[in-house]
């Protein structure tokens, strides 16, 4: 039986790769702002954006040799924080094919992996969809 996708005010589809530009930063700032204003948000990651929630990243980045005592959260840690802070209004989906294709299938437990063919259901469950970047 097909999964029932909960309604969201906005679906943010992260197509572009992290590290390439400040696109991911801008998108996550938008997600934060939408949530702080009471909206419900769904994020769907495609392509290399599926790397953002890999458990292998840990919750913190590797130590900074130039600033040994500062902790830097990983994207996995940041997404977990977002999900913990807005548990009722943020959902995070990952494309299963993109994850498998990159050997990046060990996501945070709260990330829901979806087949590419399931995207239409996520799209239909959102009032607005924002496509961010290109695959």
């Amino acid at each position: 039986m097909a999964r029932k996708i909960p309604h969201s005010d906005v679906l943010v589809t992260l197509m572009g790769a992290p590290h390439e530009s400040d696109r991911t930063t801008s998108a996550l700032r938008l997600v934060q702002a939408l949530l702080e204003r009471g909206n419900s948000v769904a994020v769907w990651t495609c392509g290399y954006a599926t790397l953002l929630t890999q458990r292998s990243l840990g919750t913190e980045k590797p130590r900074n040799l130039a600033d040994w005592n500062t902790a830097y959260p990983s994207t996995t840690g940041l997404v977990q924080d977002l999900l913990d802070t807005f548990p009722e209004r943020l959902r995070w989906y990952g494309c299963r094919f993109c994850s498998d294709d990159r050997g990046a299938d060990d996501h945070l437990p709260s990330v829901v992996l979806r087949p590419p063919a399931g995207y239409a259901a996520n799209f239909a469950a959102a009032d607005r969809t924002l496509m961010v970047g290109v695959l």
Binding site: H19, Q32, L78
Partner: protein, 127 residues
């Protein structure tokens, strides 16, 4: 020993993802390992050489994220460590910054002028 020249023209990549480990962070280590480094800022990266307020903190989830890299702070540290930094004038003009205040120690250069000096360097690479 001749110095190395690093061309930096891609800028603002992955503030959240990298936070500290960016091209200027790596430049510090290359300066040490290669026996001296010069940096040519081109394209959007010339904006790194312009005076600007510190990078603000971001709200993300429940936390305030104040660990994003600040390219101007990092350039100042590189200059203090002996790295030579130039910014191409055409790129500054393309961003409307020809009159904007440069960081102390950042010099401007005409397009192509640095390329004419490549033979003086032991290596030239994009960073």
């Amino acid at each position: 020993m001749a110095r190395a020249l690093a061309l930096v023209e891609k800028a603002y990549r992955g503030a959240l993802e990298k936070q500290f480990f960016d091209s200027l962070y790596l430049a510090t280590e290359l300066h040490r390992q290669l026996g001296g480094l010069d940096i040519l800022l081109r394209g959007r990266a010339v904006t790194y050489g312009i005076e600007a307020p510190p990078v603000p903190a971001l709200r993300m989830g429940s936390r305030t994220l104040d660990t994003l890299s600040d390219p101007r702070r990092d350039l100042r540290a590189l200059i203090a460590a002996g790295v030579g930094v130039w910014a191409e004038r055409d790129a500054l003009a393309a961003h409307g910054l020809q009159e904007a205040p440069l960081l102390d120690g950042v010099r401007t250069v005409a397009d192509g002028e640095t390329a004419a000096r490549w033979p003086e360097y032991r290596m030239v690479f994009y960073l």
